[in-house]
Symmetry: C2
Subunit: 229 residues, 2 copies
């Protein structure tokens, strides 16, 4: 009996992205069927956990057989809404914003960078990866045409909130914030923080607190969140 969507725990969503990445590879490898136990071996996630995670969204497997790779891949892509394009704008044409705008990995993803914005008049008008840098204050007007739903924030910490507000104003509904500052958004907006300095600080804690180097290689260390495939 499948539960209705919308109440899946956040950790489940994070793992779902790992399952997807693994399934894409399996699909590329031409593998047609996979069991939760086989996925466990590939991902290091317990088979019971995998089945539980999937159960939030429906029944995708056959008892005694496993999952059809292609079918599961398509269903999970639907669940994550990765079966359609998502337009994104970047605010902040500095080092990081420019690097992200040129990220080659977007090509085989459903995400398209459709606009690049900044508040610096010496940058506005310049071309970056085929995109003209535009005035961030024009975002609400310009996004009526662009129709971006995702905003990527790569501005300095002290500008993060102000630019986030502009994005919300422009109809952006999900914000990925790279600025080392917390942004407050209305509850109808999704926001996530990606914070380089915080990640380094957490790694710093573990330095000199790890088990001594003695055993053979294993991957049971404090890996925050295993990406995969």
């Amino acid at each position: 009996m499948s539960q209705e969507q919308g109440n899946a725990p956040e950790p489940t969503l994070a793992r779902l992205t790992r399952y997807l990445r693994c399934l894409r590879r399996l699909s590329d490898e031409g593998i047609q069927t996979i069991s939760s136990k086989q996925l466990e071996a590939r991902l290091g996630v317990l088979s019971a956990q995998i089945r539980k995670d999937l159960s939030y969204f429906g029944e995708f497997g056959k008892p005694g057989v496993g999952y059809n790779v292609q079918h599961l891949l398509e269903r999970l892509s639907e669940v994550m809404q990765l079966d359609r394009e998502h337009r994104a704008v970047i605010a902040g044409a500095g080092n990081l914003g420019s690097a992200l705008a040129g990220y080659a990995g977007f090509a085989k993803s459903p995400f398209r960078i459709v606009g690049m914005f900044d508040n610096n008049f010496s940058k506005i008008g310049r071309l970056l990866w085929n995109l003209e840098i535009q005035d961030i204050h024009e975002l609400p007007r310009i996004n009526q045409t662009l129709g971006a739903t995702i905003g990527i924030l790569t501005v300095p910490a002290n500008a993060a909130q102000e630019v986030a507000d502009i994005m919300v104003d422009a109809g952006i509904r999900a914000i990925l914030n790279f600025a080392p500052a917390h942004i407050h958004v209305p509850c109808h907006i999704a926001a996530r923080d990606v914070d380089l300095l915080r990640e380094l600080e957490i790694l710093s804690y573990y330095l000199d607190r790890l088990p001594a180097e003695d055993e053979a290689k294993s991957d049971t260390a404090p890996e925050a969140d295993g990406l995969d495939s």
Copy 2:
């Protein structure tokens, strides 16, 4: 009674970095004392949670008074080992690696980028932000001099594991992996993944699944992990 360090839950460590950022600001503002209830108001983390988090590392406050900002800042910096410099090398002199190498935020952090590596002979020897790009295969030799303990991985997914292995070989003890691939490391190495595509995929899930726009601004949306201050 303070517990011995080393067994703090991961979520506690993540929040600790937020407390630290807030404390630095309070210190800058010249505020000398703060209670867990006041921190709750600033951070949106329950005061009981804050006190519990701190209790993993010691007793830092005075009942009836609160915490001395400067003292708590120093103690938590020690706990996170942020009271000393950490040298880091970047592997992968592409868009992202170059952007990170030039990140201005490092200046007032304890992290120093001391080396930049790549496997592309057309890049090796070039200067980037005052650093000469060196051959990644020379990392184990060169790091005997550099003494970096942190490795930042900004190579393509298919090279991530190989380069991670070289880093481990070179004596790197913590790896921040930006490649969209899982890396396996021995259990005496700390590793964290930062994955742009995964973050976007999770945001994609929430698109069209958020409460309708009706209420006044609030920040109770599915914000993955609130950074702060």
